[in-house]
């Protein structure tokens, strides 16, 4: 398998900038996720790699070779789409064999390869079935298998499991990760689902309006987001933000919210947003530094944990408490805020001012 690289690559469609100045290296054998909201440029990156569109500027390198002048076939990349296009009149096995038949391989070689791939994907019993008789998950496996038989330089996947139901998605992402690890594939995987990206990726690139905002491991992106934009997109329930002002000595005061806390190491002064994850807030327990008065607004018991919505002045903050604690609506509580778990973002630019420790 091969390393993939975009160097200073831009692509516009008329006046619309699809991607801009993309510098990206996907390592050999890496599971790399491109994550972002709709129209942020994720799919354009795949199309550039695949050779379906040519960049306006910049280079694309597969392995060691620049490929901008090559067509999609020469690049030898395999693509799996969300809408898995299986041929309805062919069995699963014939679908798997198709890319090899098209390449005019010998019959025996094709058969051996199909059997091998079917075993890897645990779809051997399905080979004689027609696509109409397969479940959604089974069809997706066959579609992935069809990409796999060719032994491509890398796989590009565009929301390949987004159309499946929640349980099946959970199963398939484990399966994809297992395949990638066992077969040492390079995979570039586009998704808008942050949980999927966190679960499956070695590294994630977070996109905003055609540009990459942050690249890092799932833990880096989750624990050390470099901007308010990234912090907002990653995590469910979402991160809490309190808009306010950072003053002398790291003293943060909420704007129209009775929320104050001292953050050591925050040298800067000016408008800022304090950000803290729901699981990093505590209820009732004594704060390390800076207790905030709050009242119970709503309680959402989810079994393994409970989301407690508390009101601080007019603002609602979400607290994720472990287990199944009981609260009374309207009950006065104090919010424990650990300053080391708080991020600060610039109030205007959204850039990181001080990260959690």
């Amino acid at each position: 398998m091969a390393q993939l690289e975009l160097r200073n690559t831009s692509k516009s469609y008329g006046k619309t900038v699809a991607v801009k100045d993309i510098d990206l290296v996907v390592e050999d054998n890496e599971f790399f996720c491109i994550f972002g909201p709709p129209s942020s440029g994720k799919t354009t990156i795949l199309r550039l790699l695949l050779g379906l569109v040519a960049p306006d500027e910049g280079e694309i390198i597969i392995g060691d070779a620049p490929v901008v002048d090559q067509g999609p076939k020469e690049r030898n990349l395999a693509m799996v789409f969300q809408n898995l296009a299986l041929f309805p009149h062919m069995t699963a096995g014939q679908n798997l064999a198709f890319p090899l038949v098209e390449r005019k391989l010998e019959k025996a070689a094709i058969k051996a390869r199909v059997v091998e791939v079917a075993e890897t994907l645990h779809i051997t019993p399905l080979l004689d079935k027609m696509p109409a008789h397969l479940s959604g998950g089974e069809r997706q496996r066959v579609a992935i298998g069809r990409a796999l038989v060719r032994d491509p330089a890398a796989f590009l996947m565009d929301e390949p499991i987004a159309a499946l139901d929640a349980r099946l998605r959970e199963e398939m992402r484990v399966e994809l990760k297992r395949l990638q690890r066992e077969l040492h594939h390079t995979i570039v995987y586009v998704t808008h689902d942050q949980e999927e990206a966190m679960s499956i990726a070695d590294r994630i690139a977070v996109m905003e309006e055609g540009e990459i905002r942050q690249v890092g491991t799932p833990a880096e992106i989750y624990n050390l987001p470099n901007s308010r934009y990234v912090a907002e997109l990653i995590g469910a329930p979402p991160m809490n933000f309190v808009d306010g002002t950072l003053g002398n000595g790291g003293r943060f005061e909420g704007r129209n919210v009775p929320f104050s806390i001292t953050l050591e190491g925050a040298e800067w002064e000016g408008p800022a947003a304090l950000a803290v994850r729901p699981e990093d807030l505590g209820i009732g327990a004594a704060g390390v530094n800076g207790e905030v008065e709050a009242a119970i607004y709503e309680v959402e018991p989810l079994g393994a944990f409970t989301i407690v919505d508390v009101s601080v002045g007019e603002q609602i903050l979400k607290v994720q408490a472990p287990g199944q604690p009981q609260f009374t609506l309207g009950e006065r509580v104090s919010l424990a805020v650990d300053p080391d778990r708080c991020h600060l973002f610039h109030g205007e630019t959204g850039e990181l001012v001080r990260s959690a420790r």
Partner: protein
């Protein structure tokens, strides 16, 4: 006052039974979620409550009064669908006011109630916008506000949040629940999303293939699932359901997990469940957050297994285990470190183990 009683409610479409002899009591001011996968009969049930579908058999009572002869438009029911039905040629204000105007509410009162609803739904700064310019999130707020403003005694919602993005969905969940606490309507909420049902409802009716599987508070349904379907449907990741063999007898039992080894049953609650097992084919159940990962050789009862996959998902790390063909997931905290291929023991949590009949799927020995 608006309680809803469904008595032996059945709906057939040709050969298909969409809802089968459903008995359900929804109390006045209660927030009830009808939860299940597609095709479970939840929307058909709601359409019958609304009067859009006619039951094949059975009764629907509002406050004890039979609704058979009452047409949909006279049931005093408010409706919000997944696809917000908004008048796109009207402003937010006009949309909110619409239901009150057609009811002949005096103008001053309309203005006052529209302002109050706009504030509640945080739409004040959009009030004179044409709805065509609103985002999907804002449209759904208008749709909910427009229905809520007429203060129907019964409020029916069909997957109202499923088109919204994840962060806004979390926000709207809280707001919907708060809205219901303020207006004290009877709410019936259709969803396929167990997180929504858990977080919003006072009680959840879990349905599958037209049949009610369980009806209880979110915590009851989560902690004491009545059968394998409910156990599997509630929670994410879902409950570990591990086939095993019950050995021993006369109050001294062990669960045989094949390659995963054998776990002696010492826990009193689990023992009572074993007492209820009619034969040896059982399914063991435990929530991912309740099992503990311990080193092999740990003396507690458990299942010996190999780590196959580690998923870091925000605040939690989901550790996948395999014991031969048997699979399990265990939820650990943030940045939990463990090697792929490591041998561990998944230790059973005292008081939190379930047993189901392997044939019927029914829970055994429920407390």
């Amino acid at each position: 006052m608006a309680s809803i009683t469904l008595a032996s409610l059945t709906k057939r479409f040709g050969d298909l039974t969409a809802v089968a002899t459903l008995d359900l009591e929804i109390r006045d001011k209660e927030f009830v979620a009808l939860l299940g996968p597609s095709g479970c009969g939840k929307t058909t049930t709601m359409n019958m409550i609304a009067g859009i579908e006619t039951p094949s058999e059975g009764q629907i009572l509002f406050d004890g009064r039979d609704m058979r002869t009452v047409p949909a438009n006279r049931r005093k029911v408010g409706f919000v669908f997944q696809n917000y039905a908004i008048f796109t040629h009207l402003s937010v204000r006009e949309n909110l006011a619409f239901g009150l105007k057609v009811r002949g509410v005096p103008r001053a009162e309309v203005a006052q109630r529209v302002a109050a609803m706009a504030q509640l739904m945080r739409l004040e700064d959009r009030i004179d916008w044409p709805t065509a310019k609103l985002s999907v999130n804002e449209l759904q707020k208008v749709a909910i506000g427009r229905s809520a403003i007429t203060e129907p005694e019964i409020f029916l919602l069909d997957e109202p949040l499923s088109n919204l993005d994840a962060a806004f969905r979390a926000f709207m969940r809280t707001e919907l629940k708060h809205l219901q606490h303020q207006f004290q309507q009877t709410m019936v909420y259709v969803t396929h999303d167990q997180i929504e049902a858990m977080s919003l409802a006072d009680r959840i009716a879990v349905m599958d293939l037209g049949v009610l599987q369980q009806y209880g508070s979110p915590i009851e349904v989560y902690n004491e699932p009545r059968n394998v379907f409910v156990a599997n449907f509630m929670g994410s990741p879902s409950m570990n359901l591990v086939p095993c063999r019950l050995t021993g007898g006369d109050g001294s039992y062990a669960l045989d997990f094949g390659e995963g080894g054998s776990a002696a049953v010492e826990d009193g609650a689990l023992k009572r469940r074993c007492d209820a097992a009619r034969d040896a084919g059982v399914i063991f159940g435990a929530r991912p957050e309740d099992l503990e990962i311990e080193p092999t050789g740990h003396t507690g009862p458990g299942i010996e297994a190999t780590v196959t996959f580690v998923e870091p998902i925000g605040p939690r790390t989901i550790v996948h285990l395999a014991a031969g063909e048997r699979r399990m997931k265990i939820a650990e905290g943030k940045q939990y470190g463990i090697e792929l291929g490591a041998r561990v023991k998944a230790v059973l949590p005292p008081g939190k183990c379930h047993l189901f009949d392997a044939e019927t799927g029914e829970a055994l020995g429920r407390a």
